[in-house]
C-alpha cells in the first residue's frame, strides 16, 4: 500500500488542523495558552502520546475486537500518558508543574481518541505514525501561536522575556482565553476560505473576500 505523506502532512497541519478546524482538545488549548512555552510543552506531550498510541493501535487493529475497541484504545492511551507524566516529573519538573492537572487529562483529549478511531484503526502503522506526527505538529503550532498572542498582549512577554510594560489583563484572564480562541478560529476560517476561492475561481475573487474582511473587522 502506497502512502501519500504529502496529503497526511497538509491535512494534519493545515486543512484538518485539530485545534482550529476540527475544534478538538479544547480544554488544554483554553487553559494552557497563557504562555507560548506552555503551548510547546503541551504540544510535545500530546504529539508523543499521539504517535505512540497511533502506532500501537495500528499494529493491533486486526487483533482488537470491534465491540471493545474504545476501552482498548483508552487503555493504550492511558499507558502512554502515564509514561509521559513520569518522564516529565523526573526530567523537566518546571514544565510538569505548569501543565499540572492537564497532563493526566491528555487521556480524555478528544484529538487522540478521534485519530485512533478515524485513522489509526484503518491505516498501516507507517501512515498512522505520520498522521500522529503531523496532527501533533498542527496542535503544537496552534497552541504556541495562541500562547504567544496571549502572552504578548496579556503580560508583555514572549517565551518569558519581557518586551514592554504594556499589559491588557483581559487576555491573561479566562475570558480572554475564549476570546482569543474565537478570534483564531474565525481568522483561520477566513484565510482558508479566501485561499479556496482564489484557487477555485481566479476571475471572481475581486469583491467577495474583501467584503468579508470588512465584516470580520466590524464583528471584532
Amino acid at each position: 500500500m502506497k502512502t501519500n505523506f504529502k496529503k497526511i502532512a497538509t491535512d494534519g497541519v493545515i486543512t484538518n488542523n485539530p485545534t482550529l478546524k476540527l475544534v478538538l482538545g479544547t480544554c488544554p488549548t483554553l487553559a494552557l495558552t497563557t504562555a507560548a512555552m506552555n503551548g510547546i510543552g503541551m504540544g510535545a506531550a500530546v504529539t508523543f502520546v499521539l504517535i505512540c498510541s497511533n502506532l500501537i493501535i495500528s499494529l493491533l487493529r486486526k487483533v482488537i475486537p470491534n465491540q471493545v475497541r474504545i476501552p482498548a484504545f483508552v487503555l493504550i492511551i492511558a499507558t502512554f500518558v502515564t509514561i509521559v507524566r513520569l518522564a516529565l516529573d523526573k526530567l523537566l519538573p518546571s514544565i510538569y508543574e505548569s501543565l499540572g492537572l492537564y497532563l493526566p487529562l491528555i487521556v480524555v483529549n478528544c484529538i487522540i481518541l478521534a485519530r485512533a478511531e478515524s485513522f489509526a484503526s484503518k491505516n498501516s502503522p507507517i501512515a498512522s505514525v505520520a498522521d500522529g506526527l503531523f496532527m501533533g505538529i498542527g496542535f503544537t503550532l496552534a497552541l504556541t501561536l495562541m500562547g504567544a498572542f496571549r502572552e504578548i498582549l496579556g503580560a508583555g512577554k514572549i517565551f518569558g522575556i519581557t518586551l514592554w510594560d504594556f499589559k491588557i489583563g483581559f487576555f491573561s484572564s479566562s475570558a480572554g482565553a475564549f476570546f482569543t480562541y474565537a478570534l483564531f478560529i474565525a481568522i483561520f476560517s477566513l484565510v482558508a476560505g479566501t485561499i479556496k476561492t482564489h484557487k477555485k475561481k481566479k476571475a471572481t475573487v475581486t469583491t467577495e473576500p474583501k467584503e468579508e474582511v470588512i465584516e470580520e473587522k466590524e464583528a471584532e
Binding site: 475544534v23 488544554p28 483554553l30 502515564t82 492537572l101 487529562l105
Partner: protein, 201 residues
C-alpha cells in the same frame, strides 16, 4: 459552614467550565438548546459525585498503601468507564423514561475531562485544600464527594446559562466565519467575565 465554602468555591469562584476549562467539549457541543443542556448537566453531576465517591477511597486506601500511585490515571479512567456503563444498564432496566432523557449523553461522559479532572483534583490534597479553604490534612471522603457534587452543579449552571445565550444567538444574523464555534466562544467569554467577578469578592 464548610459546606457553604465548598459550594461557593466549586460552583462560582472555581467554576469547572469557565474558570478551570474542564468539560469544554460538552459545554460547546451539547448547549444548543435548554433541555438537552440541563439533561447533560445533571447526568455529569451524577457521574462526578459517584466518581469521587469511588475513586477517592481507591486512591487513599489501595493505591497509596501499595505505593502504586502512578497507576492512578489507568485505574480512574477504568472506574469512570465502568460507572458510566453500569448507570446506563441500570437506567435502561429500571427507569426507561430517565434513560430516554439522559441516555444519549452517558457514553459521552466517559471522555468528559471534567469527570477525570475532578477525580484527579480531589486526591491532590494540597490543591483541593487551598481551593476550599481547609487544612490539607483535614481532607476526607466527605469533602471529596461534596466537591464532586458541587463541581457538577457548577458545570450544570454554566452549560444551562450557555444554552440560553445560544438560543438567542441562533436567531441573529452572524458572519459565516463567526458562526458556530467562534460565536459560542465569544458568548462563553462573557459568561467567564461574569464568573470572574466572584473571584474578586
Amino acid at each position: 459552614m464548610e459546606i457553604i465554602m465548598i459550594l461557593v468555591s466549586a460552583v462560582f469562584i472555581n467554576n469547572f467550565v469557565v474558570v478551570q476549562f474542564l468539560g469544554i467539549c460538552p459545554f460547546l457541543g451539547v448547549s444548543k438548546d435548554f433541555k438537552s443542556a440541563l439533561g447533560m448537566g445533571l447526568a455529569v453531576t451524577f457521574v462526578m459525585t459517584l466518581t469521587c465517591l469511588i475513586t477517592y477511597p481507591i486512591y487513599t486506601y489501595i493505591l497509596v498503601p501499595l505505593k502504586i500511585e502512578y497507576m492512578e490515571i489507568i485505574v480512574f479512567i477504568f472506574v469512570i468507564a465502568a460507572i458510566v456503563q453500569m448507570i446506563e444498564m441500570a437506567l435502561k432496566k429500571y427507569s426507561p423514561t430517565l434513560y430516554n432523557a439522559m441516555g444519549i449523553y452517558l457514553p459521552l461522559i466517559t471522555t468528559n475531562c471534567a469527570v477525570l479532572g475532578v477525580a484527579e483534583l480531589v486526591i491532590d490534597s494540597a490543591q483541593i485544600a487551598a481551593l476550599i479553604g481547609i487544612e490539607a490534612t483535614a481532607m476526607n471522603m466527605g469533602y471529596a464527594v461534596l466537591y464532586g457534587l458541587f463541581a457538577g452543579l457548577g458545570f450544570t449552571l454554566a452549560i444551562v446559562l450557555m444554552s440560553g445565550l445560544r438560543e438567542k444567538i441562533n436567531r441573529l444574523p452572524i458572519n459565516k466565519h463567526l458562526k458556530g464555534f467562534p460565536i459560542a466562544m465569544i458568548a462563553a467569554c462573557f459568561i467567564a467575565m461574569a464568573f470572574y467577578v466572584f473571584g474578586l469578592v
